[in-house]
Amino acid sequence: MSALLEASGLALRFGAVPALDGVALEIFPGEVVAIVGESGSGKTTLLRVLSGMMRPEAGEVRYRDPEGGLHVVHEMGEAELRRLHRTDWGFVHQNPRDGLRMRVSAGGNIGERLMAVGARHYGNIRAEAAEWLRRVEIDPARIDDMPALFSGGMQQRLQIARTLVTRPRLVFMDEPTGGLDVSVQAKLLDMIRALVADLGLAVVIVTHDIAAARLLAHRLLVMRRGQVVEQGLTDRVLDDPQHEYTQLLVASVLAA
């Protein structure tokens, strides 16, 4: 099986800060990869570079389309990249306000990606939106409500529905449970896990929550100062961390 996304030699500095320093990785279809590391280690920057939202100073990101064609992400035109972000890819922001249109109803939020790729049948768009509300456990009767009326957890589920409606194969998530209460986080993680398994999604998820990584991820990348210091199968990395930074990270979670 060939990778959906491959990156090699990624480097990016902000002034003297090396946000990315020689990062390479591959994401395979249906695989959940978590990127963990302390705050400021370069996780968000890596996600933004992988998804084409930010340009690296060195290195390359390659994307494989459903027909098997390979594209260098940062050489794609803006129109092509935008289209990719609405079809085969998705991006779930930490703050649902960054990923939702707050002045558009729940149904309109879910329908937007469908309409952006040419859906022109109102009844079908609405039916699809209702179905996705159900899937993320929001009462479809609330299809015409504005997102502002929803709780934080519901907003995040709505953002996920809106992202998944075009059946992307690869989804980037940046701390999707970040701003939520612990009990709400657990519920959301369960839902993400079920959806990912159901849809066979590949996911690159950034989190500083080791427990979340253990629950969701097949593989783990540990970042520190812009470098991937350790990577491997989640259980292996967490149960038998090799790098001393990973050992510290795991120990600090166990202690907490």
């Binding site: 803006e78 109803s105 149904g107 309109g108 952006a116 790729v117 768009i125």
Partner: protein, 282 residues
């Protein structure tokens, strides 16, 4: 004769040349907004300065000008613009749609079908069809560049979800030549189908925003809609009280102080012509 002291059409030749260059660009890329450096006109914005600048740049000594405001030739706005051009160009003016070579309009398209060789100049208050949906100008430009108009459909979706139909009765967004999303200016949605493959040249001038755009003759202009909620031009369900027309766009006018109302054609030339024909037939 041109009044003394004015250049023909009021604007100086350099300004007219600059506006014509913008017009040529606009005609070459139908529906695309082209910026132009507007010269101050002797009228406040909102009085059709963009339309006046366009008319001033295309009008020639052999033209006949008609000016309408909401379909009427006799409103203050229409009369003063017509007088202005009569004074600064000396060209003949007319109220007859069929006799005019240039028609400057605010908020209507004449009922009488326009023909090849005529120019319809629209006064545009806000040229950007996405401005209510996307306040960032740079982002609207990007959306036009990428033909990324899903957001406009989101707006239509929201209308149908809330009201059961698209609640836009004026300035109903159109797609020009299958490519550019365009504001038709605040004409009633009823007029939208008249824009489609119109034999006349359609020019749009927005004075405050300093933008020009155009629809060349016989260009497709489609109103955005959904397959299961097709665009429907609406008109009051009544005949004109004066000429009996069941096809024209109607204004509802108050006729007395007891709440009495009647519907009459908004296009005064069309209505008057029909009344004359009726009388002749009797």
């Amino acid at each position: 004769m041109t009044a003394l002291g004015y250049n023909f059409g009021y604007l100086d030749e350099n300004t007219k040349r600059m506006i014509r260059r913008a017009l040529l660009k606009a005609v070459a890329v139908p529906g695309h907004q082209v910026p132009f450096g507007a010269r101050e006109m002797p009228l406040p914005y909102g009085w059709g300065t963009g339309g006046i600048a366009v008319t001033a740049s295309v009008i020639g000594a052999g033209d006949r000008l008609k000016v309408i405001d909401q379909g009427a030739d006799d409103t203050t706005n229409a009369v003063s613009i017509r007088h202005f051009f009569a004074k600064v160009t000396g060209v003949g003016t007319t109220e007859r749609t069929g006799e005019a070579t240039i028609i400057q309009t605010r908020h209507r398209i004449p009922e009488t079908r326009l023909r090849e060789g005529q120019i319809l100049v629209y006064q545009v208050p806000m040229p950007e069809p996405l401005f209510r949906l996307e306040p960032r100008v740079a982002e609207t430009k990007r959306m036009h560049a990428l033909a990324d108009y899903g957001l406009m459909h989101v707006k239509l979706y929201e209308d149908i979800a809330r009201h059961g139909h698209v609640a836009i009765s004026y300035n109903y967004p159109v797609l020009v030549g299958g490519r550019y999303l365009m504001s038709p200016s605040p004409i009633p949605a009823f007029d939208n189908p008249k824009m489609d493959r119109m034999p006349a040249l359609q020019l749009f001038g927005a004075g405050r925003e300093k933008r020009i755009y155009a629809v060349p003759p016989y260009t497709s202009v489609t109103s955005l809609d959904f397959e299961d909620h097709p665009f429907q031009p609406v008109r009051a369900d009544a005949p004109c009280a004066l000429c009996g027309s069941r096809e024209s766009y109607l204004d509802e006018v108050v006729v007395d102080d007891k709440g009495g109302r009647m519907f009459v054609c908004s296009d005064t030339d069309y209505c008057a012509t029909r009344q004359t024909q009726r009388e002749a037939a009797e």
